[in-house]
């Protein structure tokens, strides 16, 4: 699992690369803990380059989602390959995550949210 992070305004865009399983998802959990300790609670996970995810990876994503929600933050997912998306569906997780086609759409969802709260 390679992870690269960039900030777009106050939104952390996190590109994941490789496998998201029991071993590798620890790194991701660590990174998001750091972000939240710094009060960064808006995140996009770009899964374009994730070629494998299983329930351990999903479990980590749910755990991060719960942390983010409890801080009134946002976690958006984008760019899931169809076979990755299917694993979300089999496990009924497509209903609790917001999943976008691409990074742009995920980013603009924040704009909409902010407009709404204005």
């Amino acid at each position: 699992m390679n992870i690269s992070k960039s900030m777009v305004g106050d939104i952390a865009v996190i590109k994941l690369n490789g496998r998201l399983d029991l071993e590798t998802s620890k790194t991701l959990k660590g990174l998001t803990k750091e972000l939240m300790a710094d009060n960064h609670n808006k995140m996009i996970f770009d899964l374009t380059d994730v070629d494998f995810i299983n329930s351990s990876g999903l479990g980590t994503l749910v755990s991060i989602l719960r942390d983010v929600n409890s801080k009134k933050g946002n976690l958006e997912l984008c760019s899931l390959a169809p076979y990755i998306q299917e694993i979300f569906e089999i496990t009924h997780l497509s209903s609790i995550f917001r999943i976008y086609e691409n990074e742009e759409e995920a980013l603009s969802s924040f704009a909409v949210t902010e407009n709404k709260t204005e």
């Binding site: 496998r19 399983d21 029991l22 071993e23 494998f52 995810i53 299983n54 329930s55 351990s56 999903l58 479990g59 980590t60 749910v62 755990s63 989602l65 719960r66 169809p82 076979y83 299917e86 694993i87 089999i90 496990t91 009924h92 997780l93 209903s95 609790i96």
Partner: protein, 155 residues
């Protein structure tokens, strides 16, 4: 059903988190020998990774002294995979108790559901030498239902 696999792999590994990736790499290589489509290949890889993760984590309790056993048999019309750990296994009641109430925001409890969804047949139980084994069977070409479960039954 024919008894001898076309292709056969048997592994024995020290229990570690790396087992998950290594068995997946090997399964991935073996799936190239089958006519499953990419989607089915991927689903099967996920299911098997669930079983291996469980063996490493729940069965062998992340103990590096324990061993993990993996086999993969590719037949003309089916794939049989087995994973053995050196733990005590589990029963369905335990699992129901653990996750029954947690709902969609539970951080665990999805592995076996994926396995059930993907496999044509799953079987768990103790082996003669006291290991816990989970076997999975997946048909590659559609097969009459009455034939299911004959070979994997007999270990």
């Amino acid at each position: 059903m024919e008894k001898h696999p076309l292709h056969y792999a048997s592994l024995e590994l020290n229990n570690s988190g790396l087992c998950i990736k290594i068995t997946d790499d090997i399964l991935k290589a073996f799936l190239e020998l089958t006519s499953l489509d990419d989607r089915e290949k991927y689903r099967l890889r996920v299911a098997v990774s669930e079983i291996v993760t469980n063996g490493y984590f729940h069965g062998n309790k992340q103990n590096a002294q324990k061993r993990m056993f993996f086999s993969c048999n590719v037949f003309n019309n089916r794939i049989e995979i087995s994973v053995e750990d050196e733990g005590d296994g589990f029963n369905d009641d335990e699992v129901e108790e653990k996750y029954g109430a947690a709902g969609e925001y539970a951080t665990g409890g999805r592995g076996l559901k994926i396995v059930e969804k993907v496999a044509d047949r799953v079987k768990c139980g103790k082996t003669d030498n006291g290991r816990f084994r989970v076997s999975l069977l997946k048909y590659v070409n559609a097969e009459p239902v009455e034939a299911i479960g004959q070979s994997i039954e007999s270990y």
